[in-house]
């Protein structure tokens, strides 16, 4: 990795997100305030008002309308940006589904925050996980440089596969924490990210009815051509997610060619080659786990980390391949699918089973509502799991880290 120290600024994750939107030359920004996302759009509104960025800023009255503006603007030819968190993301829910079903390459930031009730403005990943089945690509970041870079990659991916991208980064832990970030030059970004080329048509010269009622079965148009039914459109959307599995990697490789750094595509790993015990998570927690891996290695335990960058599409084959030599996988989830388990743990386990890779998989729930998680606590969890596995005790119930009942 090469870093030009001239271009390095010490900035928050939210600022990194805003810089990425500026560098992507977005045409329309619409957003509504919510902690911890608000500084992203405060920064962008300043850039737009002062002419640093030539774009329209729409100060909507709700997140529902923020995504509505993005949908209207993206359909009519604009590169758009918004960001939200928690309840704001939930309030967008039906619009998230509409954006994906419309195949619009909208890129939004999600500064991950716990869902209420009770109120919490602090971090976990319940907000994004609750929206995982809306059809959006979800990418998770481990630090502020990755936030900036992932947004730029997000536009590249979204516009190629015609799916919206949610760039997720942990609220406060990244959104409000300053780190050194290399902010690229506009020319570099222009070389990486071509101008937005709209694929939707909304023009009186070629009048079309965009997203009308679509029946279950294919139906003839006026020229007698059989056109897709609802299910065919849904299949194509799923195919686009499959295509995204490749495109996320390509976008990262192209990024490296332009900027000299890459983030692993779908996954990243740390000390994985000879690891018997693998700690697995998404976002800043996976970054924290690298410290835990070092601590375990200092005790003679061959530990490594697998960081999940893409959660949707889920890189099942890549996960299975990365874990084929592991004896024990310890998954940390910052959210829950209530009544079942941590969503990442269950998705990992299903992927491993499908590919007949059979390490022991244990799950831990951690950091809900901003509960602090220290590297040593991840180490303790890994040690518990190692002991459990050594004793051959079979399936291990999911444990909650640092629960104080």
């Amino acid at each position: 990795m090469t870093v030009d120290t001239q271009s390095v600024s010490v900035i928050t994750g939210n600022r990194a997100a805003a810089e990425a939107a500026r560098l992507a030359r977005v045409d329309v920004v619409a957003a509504y305030p919510i902690t911890p996302q608000s500084p992203v759009v405060e920064t962008l509104s300043k850039y737009i008002e002062t002419g640093v960025l030539d774009a329209e800023f729409i100060t909507v009255e709700s997140e529902h309308s923020a995504m509505g503006v993005c949908i209207g603007a993206a359909t009519s030819g604009s590169r758009v940006f918004t960001a939200s968190s928690a309840n704001g993301l939930a309030y967008m829910c039906e619009q998230l589904s509409w954006a994906a079903g419309s195949r619009l390459p909208i890129v939004m930031g999600c500064a991950n925050r716990a869902m209420s009730a009770p109120w919490s403005v602090l971090n976990d990943q319940q907000d994004a996980m609750s929206q995982r089945d809306q059809g959006w690509i979800q990418l998770y970041c481990r630090n502020n440089q990755e936030i900036l870079d992932t947004f730029l990659q997000g536009f590249r991916i979204a516009e190629q596969v015609k799916l919206p991208v949610m760039v997720c980064y942990d609220g406060f832990i990244l959104s409000h924490t300053v780190m050194p970030v290399d902010i690229p030059e506009q020319e570099q970004v222009d070389a990486y990210l071509p101008p937005y080329s709209v694929h939707t048509i909304l023009d009186p010269e070629e009048p079309r009815n965009v997203n009308p009622v679509t029946l279950a079965n294919p139906r003839l148009n006026g020229d007698g051509v059989l056109c897709h039914g609802y299910m065919e459109f849904r299949y194509l959307m799923e195919q686009a997610h499959k295509e995204a599995l490749d495109m996320i990697v390509v976008a990262d490789e192209e990024f490296e060619a332009c900027f000299g750094r890459r983030w692993g595509g779908l996954l990243w790993s740390y000390q994985l080659e000879d690891a018997e015990v693998v700690l697995l998570a998404a976002g800043s927690l996976a970054g924290e786990a690298t410290i835990s891996a070092d601590m375990l290695r200092s005790e003679g335990i061959r530990a490594g980390v697998l960081g999940l960058r893409a959660y949707r599409p889920f890189p099942a084959a890549a996960v299975a391949d990365a874990l084929k030599e592991a004896g024990l996988v310890v998954v940390f989830d910052k959210s829950l699918s209530y009544g079942y388990d941590g969503p990442i743990r269950r998705d990992v386990q299903a992927a491993l089973f499908e590919h007949r890779v059979m390490p022991e998989v244990h799950g831990y729930i951690a950091g809900l509502g901003g509960r602090d998680i220290k590297a040593r606590e991840l180490v303790d969890a890994a040690r518990d799991s190692i002991t459990w596995a050594e004793q051959g005790k079979g399936p291990k119930p999911t444990d909650w880290i640092n629960l104080q009942l």
Partner: protein, 301 residues
């Protein structure tokens, strides 16, 4: 000279054959609106009767671009298109948000209020058929007092309709008008006026609905005219805050010859449960609104 059926432009933007119910007034509304816009418009439509009229994929009954939107999202989606066109330097298109009474005054109210407060460059049209007709005639906040709906099935609605144009006027936008398919020339002229203004423009259109109001399908225009002739629906426009009666309502004010509301109501089976006391309350409300409208018209003339 006011536009009438003889001097309307010949170009049609509504194709023969559509899925609207027999006698639907929304077709009359759209036909005249699209002519007044020369087809140079983008329509944004939430879940509503107009969605049905426009047709199902992959066929369409209208020759204008139509973008479907989530139910509460019409004004926001239209704002997004308007912002996009502004960024692209395109000023030849009118962005029309076209929603029913539910999509405007109920679930769409917040989005409309937001867009109007920002003075988004959007022409918002509410075609008000006075209930959720597309889902089977459930009551809305614009259903009139005493009307039976499928969610006010026995006694009729217990509340008056809210005063939609007054709510919108509180946002201080450049143009507000009402219109009726019973007077399409007046409607056409108002759309022409709205088209020439930038910022948020709002039009409230009374849209008689044969299945929902329960009258014969051939009586749609007569019903629309009776709504105006009785004063139950008043034709006016408010340009930069100045209120003026127009068309038939202006003529009625001059001649002071309004019909009683009973004449309008007795033709609709939805008012079949109406008792005399409720009818008197309705008449009283219509009289009060009418007096205020005429007084305001004269004061601002």
């Amino acid at each position: 000279m006011a536009t009438n059926t003889l001097n309307l432009p010949e170009q049609e933007y509504m194709l023969p054959g559509n899925r609207a119910c027999a006698g639907c007034s929304v077709g009359i509304v759209f036909r005249h609106m699209s002519k007044a816009l020369d087809g140079k418009a983008i329509f944004v439509v939430p879940a509503s009767c107009f969605t049905v009229l426009c047709g199902m994929y992959p066929t369409a009954s209208v020759q204008v671009p139509v973008m479907n939107s989530v139910f509460p999202g019409t004004a926001a989606c239209a704002s997004g298109i308007a912002a996009s066109l502004k960024k692209q330097g395109r000023d030849d298109l009118t962005v029309v948000a076209m929603a029913g009474d539910g999509g405007t005054a109920d679930i769409g109210m917040q989005g409309l209020s937001g867009a109007a407060e920002r003075n988004a460059n959007v022409f918002f049209v509410c075609y008000d058929n006075e209930a959720y007709m597309n889902t089977g005639t459930q009551r809305s906040s614009l259903t009139p007092l005493g009307a039976k709906t499928t969610t006010t099935p026995a006694k009729g609605k217990m509340q008056f309709a809210k005063d939609l144009p007054a709510i919108v006027e509180a946002h201080d936008i450049p143009y507000i008008a009402t219109a009726s398919p019973g007077y399409p020339g007046d409607l056409y002229d108002k759309v022409c006026t709205a088209r020439g203004i930038s910022g948020t423009r709002f039009m409230h259109i009374n849209a008689p609905c044969p299945p929902g109001w329960q009258f014969p399908t051939a009586e749609t225009v007569a019903m629309a005219q009776l709504a105006v002739e009785t004063g139950a629906f008043i034709l006016f426009e408010i340009m930069d805050g100045k209120f003026q009666l127009t068309g038939k309502s202006l003529a009625l004010a001059d001649k002071d010859n309004r019909q009683p509301v009973r004449k309008f109501i007795e033709l609709q089976s939805r008012f079949g449960v109406l008792d005399e006391e409720t009818l008197a309350r309705l008449q009283e409300r219509v009289d009060e609104r009418w007096r205020k409208a005429v007084a305001r018209h004269r004061a601002e003339e």
